[in-house]
Subunit: 298 residues, 2 copies
């Protein structure tokens, strides 16, 4: 089965590779000229398979660009105090420039309390409310922008997609993707609308989008007929759907029906290979920004 | 000249009076049972006539409900350090439960630096980025909500206007009104769009609004024909336009052509007498919340 595609496929894998190469050069330059090695610390609690995979991938990505990895692995039944102790150590460790707490945390742990313990200067995830507040405000700048929405914006920039004055619709209002994505689009002078689970007739609003960022986590939610012809589609959804023909028994699809959408959109990200690879690249980028800010490097 | 009006006129003056009466009762109850008197400190820099009027009105409103007023007046040419010194004193003064820096500040003063000096526990203006961040995030709560957007929401609530699932459009994205108003509407499960100076064809989006909050500061920007029949209109604009028939030589109008809109909207705030009186009422309300939180009162 082939689909006639008229749209540009936004190659996140390629862009992410390019960014990682750029970061590797910068890390090498900084090391050569100052001896400073950027460091990223990850805190992993419990033994979720998916979290372990993410953390392993992050460590590998760090190694490849020359960022030093630090890790604290805590057992599922650890206390909030145990986690905060490790965060405090990383906060005061001068070799660590970014701290990341792998989510989700176990049920008995207060996520807000833990995330607030990360010093804002090393909050490379950009989830601290002070960073989000600055992101929302005109005339203020966050120290860090959350990685996935930053990756979406980076894809738009690298494909020279104009944002100013455009209608942008974000599907989903999560703290991690939807909400910060909308704030970033607005900072870039788009006119934003945010669609969520309580929205009636979402397709009516989505059809107005020149730029659509979907972070709903619902497989094939957005049909081709929901799109304005020529829209740019950034699909953040990574959803596993059963597929007996796949060796793993499932395959990954986005929030947007790619086949339908690619004949309507002017540009679209595939899943996988679109936004996914950008998230870790932006984490590395935030860690690099952090080391530069802390040491006042150019 | 009479205008045929089919809409409910949202009487902000009346609602604000009711809220001030409620606050006065609560303040009296707290004083009787605990001896604690809520206190609000205002910092005024320079001698702008309009700022002096605002500060005087705030003091008067405090007196009327039994909140104690504190004031620091600094000369136009004072330094940032002078202002911060007064803020620090109020931060540590246990009789002060809310601190307000009257804006705008003189050109040579860094507004961000000054506002950040106010302890978040007494930031009754709700302008601290930490408060704004919490306002933007799901599962977090700000300590204080900015007064004018809070007043808009209070008007909607007191007139039993349902917000959940409704299309809401905010005109303007200022830190003080538009942006926090949009965040509040989204927290109440509206589907929001934010129109601003870079928006093309704003009337197309405004026409989709079940609820419109206009904070553009442009007299008579929104025409009756821009509204969806039955829309609820909250007009935050207070714009002075020349009027030779007025003894003062000007009159105040909103962002919305009231005459045209009142025959299309289902409910609308007048200017003056709509949102205006709510702002100070919400400031008193925030001061009351603050004293209750600080002293853990019910």
């Amino acid at each position: 089965m082939t689909t006639e595609s008229s749209s540009i496929i936004i190659d996140g894998k390629l862009v992410a590779k390019k960014i990682r190469d750029e970061i590797a050069s910068e890390v090498a330059r900084i090391k050569d000229s100052t001896g400073i090695v950027p460091g990223l610390a990850v805190i992993l609690v419990g033994s979720r398979k998916d979290s372990q995979t993410y953390v392993r991938n992050k460590k590998k990505a760090c190694e490849e660009v020359g960022i030093e990895s630090f890790e604290a692995s805590l057992p599922e039944d650890c206390t909030e105090e145990d986690i905060i102790k490790h965060i405090s150590d990383f906060n005061s460790n001068p070799s660590v420039h970014g701290i990341l707490v792998q989510l989700p945390l176990p049920q008995h742990i207060n996520e807000e309390k833990i995330l607030n313990a990360v010093t804002i200067e090393k909050d490379v995830d950009g989830f601290h409310p002070l960073n989000i507040g600055r992101l929302a405000m005109q005339g203020r700048d966050p120290l860090f922008v959350p990685c996935t929405p930053k990756g979406c914006m980076e894809l738009l920039h690298r494909y020279n997609i104009e944002i100013k004055g455009k209608r942008a619709v974000v599907i989903g209002r999560s703290n991690i993707v939807g909400m910060p994505a909308a704030l970033l689009l607005q900072r870039a002078n788009a006119t934003i609308s945010i669609v969520h689970s309580k929205t009636k007739n979402p397709e009516e609003i989505i059809r107005q989008a020149d730029i659509l960022i979907s972070a709903a986590g619902v497989p094939n939610l957005v049909r081709g007929s929901w799109l304005k012809p020529g829209a740019v589609v950034i699909d953040v959804g990574i959803n596993a759907v059963d597929d007996s023909e796949s060796p793993r028994g499932y395959r990954l699809v986005g929030d947007v029906c790619f086949g339908e959408a690619s004949s309507v959109a002017s540009a679209i990200t595939p899943v996988p290979g679109g936004v996914g690879p950008m998230t870790i690249a932006m984490l590395l980028s935030n860690t690099l920004s952090s080391v530069k800010r802390i040491h006042d490097l150019k």
